[in-house]
C-alpha cells in the first residue's frame, strides 16, 4: 500500500501568459519554505483537490482555493484576470507504477472530471500514453468503475470496507474519511484532534472506522461477525417465541396450557422438569395425557350403559336437575371470581408495561447524556469536568438545585442502575404475561364448564317436560366427549412435534453462543493489539521528545474502542493548552506512519502537513519533530510539510537534516516559462 507524490503542477492561464508553479518532491521529508500568504496552502490544497479529496475540508462544492486560482492573480505588482486554471499531480504506487491526474479549477471545463494518464506527463509531456476520464465528487465516485476514487483506491491497493451509516445503509468508507489521518490541512486540520474527519457523510463512528482501516485491524471484521451472530440470535429467539405461541394456541382448543416451557431459547434441552401440556379437571390441573385417559374411560362407561326408557326415571332426573342447578350457581360464582382475577392481572400487566416504557425513555436519555458528554470532551466544556463555567466552583452533574444535599450518581452508575431496574421489570413482565395466560386459560375452562352445565340443565328440563327422549341427552354427552378426545389427540401430537422443533432451535442457539464466545472479547485480534501497542509506544515517546506538558505522557494510552488517546479511561482532553493539542496531532499522525513501518497496514506511507508550527509550538520542539520525520526517508515513506519560519531560524532548523527543501523568497505562483 503506497502512494507518493512525485510532482505537482499548478497552471493558471491569463491573457498575459501562463502563471503557476511546478514542485518536484522526493521520497523522504520535503519542506516547502515560503513567507506567509505566498501560496503554500494553495500547494497543499492543490494536492488535496487533484485527488478529489476536498470533501475532507468541507461539504461545499466549491474548490478549496482563494481568488488567485479562480478570479484574479497578482504577478509582481500587476493584477491579471484568471481565464482558466488546473492542477496536475504525478503520483506513484508501491509497484512503482506512475500516473498523472489532472483536474480543472476555473474555466469552462467540468470540475467533476479527473483525467488520468498512465505515465509521467509532467516530466515528459510527449510520452505517447493513454488518457482516461473519471468522475469525482458525485454519487458513486467511490464505487463505480468510472469513479475517480474507485480508480485511486485500486491504484493505492486499497479495498474499501463497507460501513454502516446512521440511516442503516452500507456505504464504502469514503477516501475523504481516511485521508484526514495522513493530510492535515491548514484551515481546520489543527483546530481539534482528528477534527477533519467529515461527519456529514453520516457514517457511524467514522473516525474509528478510518483508524481501523488505516492500521488494517481485524477488529472491524470481528465486529461485523459479532453483529451477524447477534442477528441470528434474534432470529432464533423470534422462531422460539412463534413456536411457543403456536403451541399455546393449539392448547386452547382443549382449554389447556403449556407449563415448564422457557419463554426464551434455552441452551440446556430438554429442561428439567420437562415441558407439559396440562388441562383443568375440577379445581386442579392435570396432564393432558391423564385427562385423555379419564375421558376415554368416561366414554367407555357411557357406551356400556344401555339406554333406558323414561318411565320410572322421572324422580331420578329431578334429583339430577337440582344437583346440576346447585353446581351451576357454584360454578358461576367461581367464573365471576376467575374473571376478576384475570382483569386484575391484565391491569397489572398494563402497569408494568407503562413503567417499562418510562424506564426505557429514561435509559435512552441517560445514554444520550453520556454521548453528549463525549462531544464536550472534544471542545472542553467546564460542566463535563464538574466545574461551574462562571465561578469555577464544583458543580454536580444535575439540573436539580445545586443545594440539594445528595450527590447524583455518575452517568455510568446511573445507566447501570436503570438497566438493572429494566431487567427487574422485564422479568416481572415475563411473569405477569405467564400469569395472564394461565388466568385466561382457567377462565375459559371454567366458562366451558358453566356452558356445559347450562346445556345439561336445558336438556334435563326438556326431557322432564317430555320434549325430548332421555336417550338424546346421553348421545349428546357422548358426542361432546368424543370431540374433546379427538382434539386432545391432535393437540398432543402437535405438541410432541413442536418439542422436536424446540430441540433443534436449542442446538442452533448453542452454536451461536459458542461462536460469539470464540470472538475476542473487544473484537481485537492479537495482531491488532500489537499494532495498537506500537502506536501507543511511539506516541508516548514522541510526546516526551516534543515536551508535551498537559499530562505525563506515560499516563496516556490508546483507547481499544475508539483508538483515540485517552487518559485513565477518559478521552484525551486538552485543557487550555493549544500547543499541546498540536503536539498530540504531530505525535498521532506520525505514530500511525511509524507503526506502518513494522506492521502490515493500509497506510499509504504518505504524510502531508500544512504549517505544523501552529499556535505557540516551540521552535525547538518543531526541530525535534522534523528530525524524527526524516526517519521516513529511510523507510521509503514520504512527508511533505510547509513552513513560514524566518530565513535565519529556518537555516538552523534544517541544518544537518536529510530533507529536500523547496525554498521560495516570494510568491510560489509566478510566470511559467515552459509547458
Amino acid at each position: 500500500m503506497k502512494l507518493s507524490i512525485r510532482k505537482l503542477l499548478i497552471r493558471i492561464s491569463t491573457a498575459e501568459g501562463i502563471v503557476g508553479t511546478r514542485l518536484d518532491f522526493e521520497q523522504k521529508l520535503n519542506i516547502i519554505h515560503a513567507p506567509n500568504t505566498m501560496g503554500k496552502s494553495i500547494c497543499v490544497n492543490g494536492i488535496i483537490y487533484a485527488l478529489g479529496l476536498e470533501g475532507m475540508i468541507s461539504a461545499s462544492p466549491d474548490p478549496p482555493f482563494g481568488s488567485a486560482m479562480t478570479d484574479t492573480i497578482v504577478v509582481g505588482d500587476q493584477s491579471r484576470a484568471v481565464l482558466s486554471s488546473e492542477v496536475l499531480l504525478e503520483i506513484a504506487n508501491e509497484e512503482g507504477t506512475v500516473a498523472t491526474v489532472r483536474r480543472a479549477v476555473a474555466g469552462k471545463e467540468n470540475r467533476h472530471l479527473v483525467s488520468v494518464w498512465d505515465g509521467a506527463i509532467i516530466s515528459n509531456p510527449d510520452a505517447g500514453i493513454t488518457q482516461k476520464d473519471y468522475f469525482v465528487r458525485v454519487g458513486g465516485a467511490a464505487q463505480h468503475e468510472a469513479g475517480f476514487h474507485h480508480w485511486l483506491a485500486s491504484f493505492i491497493g486499497w479495498k474499501l470496507p463497507m460501513v454502516p451509516t446512521f440511516r442503516d445503509e452500507d456505504v464504502p468508507l469514503y477516501l475523504e474519511c481516511i485521508f484526514p489521518l495522513c493530510v492535515i490541512e491548514q484551515k481546520r486540520g489543527w483546530a481539534g484532534f482528528l477534527s477533519r474527519i467529515p461527519t456529514y457523510l453520516r457514517i457511524r463512528d467514522v473516525a474509528e472506522r478510518a483508524v481501523e482501516f488505516l492500521l488494517a485491524l481485524d477488529a472491524y471484521q470481528n465486529s461485523i461477525a459479532r453483529q451477524k451472530l447477534r442477528e441470528e440470535q434474534a432470529r432464533i429467539k423470534g422462531e422460539w417465541q412463534n413456536t411457543l405461541t403456536a403451541v399455546s394456541t393449539a392448547a386452547r382448543l382443549i382449554n389447556g396450557v403449556v407449563v415448564g416451557m422457557p419463554a426464551e431459547p434455552a441452551s440446556l434441552w430438554p429442561p428439567q422438569p420437562g415441558p407439559q401440556l396440562v388441562v383443568p379437571e375440577g379445581d386442579k390441573w392435570i396432564s393432558a395425557r391423564q385427562g385423555l385417559q379419564s375421558m376415554r374411560a368416561a366414554l367407555r362407561t357411557l357406551q356400556e350403559q344401555a339406554p333406558e326408557g323414561n318411565g320410572n326415571r322421572i324422580a331420578e332426573l329431578q334429583t339430577e336437575l337440582r344437583t346440576a342447578e346447585q353446581q351451576l350457581r357454584r360454578d358461576e360464582y367461581v367464573l365471576d371470581q376467575n374473571l376478576t382475577e384475570l382483569e386484575q392481572q391484565r391491569e397489572a400487566l398494563g402497569n408494568v408495561n407503562r413503567r417499562l416504557a418510562a424506564i426505557e425513555q429514561d435509559l435512552r436519555r441517560n445514554k444520550d447524556a453520556k454521548r453528549l458528554r463525549q462531544f464536550g470532551s472534544m471542545l472542553p466544556l467546564h460542566v463535563t469536568q464538574g466545574e461551574c463555567p462562571t465561578c469555577h466552583q464544583a458543580v454536580q452533574d444535575t439540573l436539580l438545585s445545586q443545594t440539594i444535599d445528595a450527590a447524583p450518581m455518575s452517568l455510568d452508575d446511573n445507566i447501570g442502575f436503570i438497566e438493572s431496574q429494566k431487567a427487574t421489570y422485564l422479568a416481572m413482565r415475563q411473569n405477569t404475561l405467564r400469569l395472564v395466560a394461565a388466568k385466561e386459560a382457567r377462565f375459559e375452562a371454567q366458562n366451558a364448564r358453566v356452558e356445559n352445565i347450562r346445556r345439561n340443565i336445558r336438556g334435563l328440563r326438556q326431557t322432564l317436560t317430555g320434549e325430548r327422549a332421555p336417550v338424546e341427552r346421553e348421545i349428546r354427552q357422548r358426542l361432546q366427549i368424543e370431540e374433546w378426545i379427538e382434539n386432545a389427540e391432535k393437540t398432543l401430537g402437535e405438541f410432541d412435534e413442536k418439542l422436536q422443533r424446540f430441540g433443534e432451535l436449542s442446538k442452533r442457539w448453542n452454536t451461536v453462543l459458542s461462536a460469539i464466545k470464540a470472538l475476542p472479547e473487544d473484537d481485537l485480534s492479537g495482531d491488532d493489539i500489537a499494532k495498537i501497542s506500537a502506536l501507543e509506544k511511539s506516541l508516548r515517546q514522541q510526546l516526551v521528545e516534543y515536551k508535551f506538558r498537559s499530562l505525563p505522557p506515560d499516563s496516556l494510552s490508546i483507547s481499544r474502542d475508539t483508538f483515540r488517546p485517552e487518559h485513565e479511561k477518559f478521552d484525551f482532553e486538552v485543557n487550555n493548552s493549544a500547543s499541546d493539542l498540536i503536539r498530540m496531532i504531530w505525535a498521532y499522525v506520525n505514530g500511525l506512519l511509524e507503526t506502518a513501518r513494522s506492521f502490515s497496514t493500509n497506510h499509504p506511507g504518505l504524510l502531508i502537513m500544512d504549517e505544523p508550527k501552529q499556535q505557540s509550538a516551540h521552535r525547538a520542539d518543531l526541530g525535534t519533530f522534523l528530525r524524527r520525520l526524516t526517519l521516513a526517508g529511510q523507510h521509503g515513506q514520504q512527508i511533505i510539510i510547509t513552513t513560514s519560519e524566518e530565513d535565519d531560524t529556518f537555516g538552523q532548523l534544517i541544518a544537518n537534516l536529510d530533507c529536500k527543501v523547496l525554498d521560495f523568497d516570494g510568491k510560489i505562483l509566478g510566470p511559467l516559462t515552459t509547458g
Partner: protein
Amino acid sequence: MPEDVFRIPELAVPITFQRRPISIPGDLRPHWQIGVVLLILWNSRKAKASLQKVHIMNWAVRDAERRAALSGYIDGEVGPEDVVVRYEPGLDRALRFAVAEGLVAVVKTNELQLTPKGSEIVQQIEAADCLQPEKHFLKEMGSRASEKRMKALLRLESLI
C-alpha cells in the same frame, strides 16, 4: 418483647446509615438538556429563538403526546387550551450553563442564539447517533414553529 429482638446475634450490631448517590432522570442531566437546547436553536430561523419558544419546544419535545399536541395546534387541529405548556425550571439552569460555556448567546433581552462554538457542537450532535426522536421532531417542526405562532399559543389564540 422488643428486647428479644437483640438476642438475634445478627441484629445486635450498631446500625449505621450511609448516604448513597441518587439516581437522576436523564432529562435533568445538564448535557442532555444543553443538547436539546442547542437542537431547538439549530432548528429555528437564523439559529435564534425567544426564551418562550425554547420553553415551549423543550416542553413539547419530551414525549409523544406533547409532540402530537403542539403539532396539532400548529396545524389548527387542536385549540390552545389543550396545549398546556409547563415551564421546566431545569431548563433555566441549563441555559445559564450554555451561556457561560459560550455555546449560546443572549441577543436582546429575551432572545437566544447559537454561537459558532455552539453550532459546531450541534453539528456533531446531528451527525451522531443520539437524541433521535428529539432531532426528528425538531427538524419536522423547523420553521413551522414560528415565533408568531408560539406567541399566539401563549396568548391562547386559536390558529384554526
